[in-house]
């Protein structure tokens, strides 16, 4: 499952970031590294971007980027 399709208010763990280059690196630098718990808080009124909670802070990212982040539910 990818982050953009994840249901709201459920905690999952980042599995991998499938984006190369500086953008992928920045996503990881912001704390989205494999194993980190992540939760989708909400989507903006127009459906995009989405707000996620990672490492105890809130981050906004577009669905395009969220698509590149694989997550695993459960645990």
């Amino acid at each position: 499952m990818t982050l953009d399709t994840m249901p709201k208010d459920v905690t999952a763990r980042v599995a991998s970031v499938e984006m190369n280059g500086a953008h992928g690196l920045r996503l990881m630098e912001m704390g989205l590294v494999p194993g980190a718990p992540v939760r989708v808080v909400k989507a903006a009124p127009l459906g995009d971007p989405i707000q996620v909670c990672i490492r105890n802070y809130h981050l906004a990212l577009r669905r395009v980027e969220a698509q590149a982040i694989e997550v695993t539910l459960g645990e």
Binding site: R26, G31, P45, P49, Q51, H58, A60
Partner: protein
């Protein structure tokens, strides 16, 4: 100057530790955005700070003086733009990184670095901190928001944290000045125990890792997208670094937080709600505009009256002559025109600072991103564009937070279409002269509708231009949108005050120099060459004088070109002079229509003069249609030297400012032409 400074530093660095005490120390404050850096900087320096050139938000490096100890000369404290990582992705971050790695401007290399770490967001903040620790420079960590962390049920063992990181960690609460003395002592200790000034930082590949042998992400960033192996390597290091930080933090921090949604998330339930969110945004914007339009008007007319009275008093007490003319028509009128402008700027910047400080600006970008993307821009462009409603100069500076260079240029190119406060005097004069007292639908004043229409027209043109630019010369794939939504905080009024003070002083410097200089230059252009004939009546003489002056000749020269827009040579003089700054057209018109000496309220007499002005055939020169045409010209033309100068600086070429001035001039001409000629065809006058 900086070369001298540099040799001094080098000489000093060869001296033993004691000599460190005597010289001026340079200390740099670095940290993630929203970590409380500026707040700490303000608490350490108080009012002894200055912002180099035009500031955006914290885009420029701010410098201040910090008294580490009473016996020492104050240290130079530099507040860097916020950054998340040494692998910079925006101009902002590049500037900060260069200073931190000793590659910044001369005289900016640090004796010590204070890394600001948000105690409520330790793991991510420590990412940058550990990168910096690996450069082996003298570092002290200032743990900000310590009170919030305690309240948020985080127990941080500062000593353990400090041991694990290998650098001193000082908890601080900037607002209450807690921990500031301790911070000074730690910094001093650090500098004094080092035998000499720290050598220039290591090359990026040389980081040996935190506390020996651990991986570093400081190896040079791979450049080619195809270089998969390099990126993988980089990612591996990054993951290891986070694992290391997690270990350190879980050892040093005890959390009794049950993971309930915090107060910020609960506020967000309203502020970024599907329906309520946009409503809140509109209400906030309305409040801001209400303040600019209504609340500012009283102090503005007060300043206006004071300066006309001053001009009259000077004229009454000095002998008539060229010097008195210069003083009253050039200098006093010019300064008054500048200052009358200040209440609006103060109010707008007050709101922008509060919105920034409270965390609302990021929410606005969150709400607006989808719309901004429709024209190919980033949600982050919303803040610079909103700031441009006060003045395009800080707005353009604030575009530095936009990572993608093409996006940034597109944002800069459309920023001047936001009706800045310099246009307001032009709008209000035209409305006072030609549209006052009229109502739409019986209740709403026509003037308010026209001003609103100007704002909307500016935004609409900006959208079209942005779309065209993004699909032609600035074509690029959509940039990533990765933006922190910082927790809501009660704005610190000290910080807001600092921001207001620096922005106003910058405006005054710009206004005081450029506008005053232009005001005097204009007066001279209109006063020289001196007319030959002695005037029979004072007014007739003045008119002849202006017609024969340099300005009059220039106005006549462009008259054929601007006639189709409904403008005559007097307006032509105004157009020429307002290329310096839009609001100068008011003082120019005052001089051209010779209303500076009128004893009544100056602006109302200018209104009368405009209403009474006649063309050679006796028909009124200024009609509502001419007023509208002029407003549209002023909305669309890039009549602002300061904007041109800042675009030159921000894009580092003359290409973009020249492009900007040219296309905006063409647009303005065409739009005014359509307004005036079209209006005539439709039977308006």
């Amino acid at each position: 100057m900086s070369a001298i400074l540099d040799t001094l530093v080098i000489e000093q660095s060869a001296l033993p530790a004691e000599a460190n005490r005597a010289r001026e120390l340079t200390i740099v404050v670095a940290g993630n955005p929203n970590a409380g850096k500026t707040s700490l900087f303000n608490s350490l320096t108080g009012l002894r700070q200055k912002v180099a050139n035009y500031p955006g938000v914290t885009v420029e490096s701010k410098m201040g003086q910090w008294t580490l100890s009473p016996e020492l000369p104050p240290a130079r404290l530099i507040d860097l733009p916020g950054l998340y990582s040494l692998a910079a992705t925006s101009l902002d971050e590049e500037i900060a990184r260069d200073v931190l790695l000793g590659r910044g401007p001369k005289g900016m290399s640090a004796d010590a670095i204070i890394v600001v770490v948000d105690a409520t967001n330790l793991v991510r903040n420590l990412y940058l901190a550990t990168q910096l620790i690996e450069t082996k420079q003298p570092i002290v960590i200032a743990l900000t928001m310590f009170d919030l962390a305690e309240r948020g049920k985080l127990k941080i063992d500062v000593e353990k944290l400090s041991d694990a990181l290998g650098v001193p960690v000082v908890p601080v609460v900037a607002k209450q000045r807690r921990g500031l003395g301790d911070l000074a002592n730690r910094v001093l200790n650090l500098i004094e125990t080092l035998p000499m000034r720290f050598p220039l930082p290591l090359g990026e590949g040389q980081g040996e890792g935190l506390r020996g042998g651990r991986p570093s992400t400081l190896s040079p960033l791979p450049t080619g997208e195809g270089d998969r192996a390099d990126w993988k390597d980089h990612q591996t290091k990054l993951i290891k670094r986070y694992a290391l930080i997690e270990r350190i933090v879980s050892d040093a921090v005890e959390s009794t937080d049950e993971g309930k949604p915090g107060i910020s998330e609960r506020i967000d339930r309203v502020v970024t709600h599907k329906i309520l969110g946009p409503v809140v945004l509109i209400v906030v914007m309305l409040l801001v505009f209400q303040a600019i339009f209504s609340w500012a008007s009283l102090p503005m007319s007060l300043i206006d009256n004071v300066f006309s009275a001053l001009g009259d008093a000077v004229r009454a007490h000095l002998p008539a002559g060229i010097f008195t003319d210069l003083l009253t028509d050039g200098i006093i009128a010019g300064v008054g025109g500048v200052l009358a402008f200040l209440p609006q700027i103060l109010l707008l910047f007050l709101f922008i600072s509060i919105l920034e400080d409270s965390g609302y600006m990021a929410r606005a970008a969150f709400l607006m991103d989808r719309l901004m993307r429709a024209v190919g821009l980033h949600g982050k462009a919303f803040v610079p564009l909103l700031s441009s409603f006060a003045c395009a100069v800080p707005g353009i500076m604030a575009t530095r937070t936009i990572e993608n260079p093409k996006d940034r240029i597109a944002t800069i190119m459309i920023a001047p279409f936001m009706s800045c406060s310099a246009r307001l005097p032009v709008y209000t004069l035209m409305i006072a002269a030609f549209f006052s007292g009229r109502k739409v639908l019986g209740v709403i004043s026509l003037g308010a509708v026209i001003i609103l229409a100007m704002y909307i027209l500016g935004i609409a043109v900006a959208i079209v231009v942005a779309w065209i630019l993004k699909h032609t010369i600035l074509n690029a794939p959509p940039p990533p949108f990765v933006m922190e939504l910082p927790p809501y905080r009660v704005p610190d009024f000290g910080n807001v005050g600092h921001a207001l003070f620096s922005r106003c002083s910058i405006f005054l410097k710009r206004a005081g120099t450029v506008i005053l200089a232009i005001s005097i230059l204009l007066w001279a252009l209109m006063a020289f060459p001196r007319g030959g004939s002695a005037p029979s009546s004072p007014d007739g003489g003045k008119a002849v004088q202006i017609e024969n002056s340099f300005a009059g000749r220039a106005g006549r020269l462009i008259e054929p070109a601007i006639k189709p827009l409904g403008f005559d040579w007097k307006i032509g003089i105004g157009l020429i002079s307002s290329f310096a700054a839009r609001e100068t057209i008011i003082s120019t018109l005052s001089i051209v229509y010779n209303v500076g000496e009128s004893p009544e309220n100056k602006s109302s007499s200018l209104v009368d003069a405009l209403r009474n002005a006649k063309r050679t055939d006796g028909s009124p020169l200024w009609t509502p249609l001419v007023g509208l045409s002029l407003m549209i010209f002023f909305l669309l033309a890039c009549q602002c030297m300061s904007t041109v100068a800042i675009v030159r600086r921000e894009t580092n070429s003359w290409r973009w400012p020249i492009f900007m001035v040219s296309y905006m001039l063409v647009l303005a001409y065409v739009a005014s032409f359509i307004t005036y000629q079209g209006g005539h065809l439709l039977g308006f006058s």
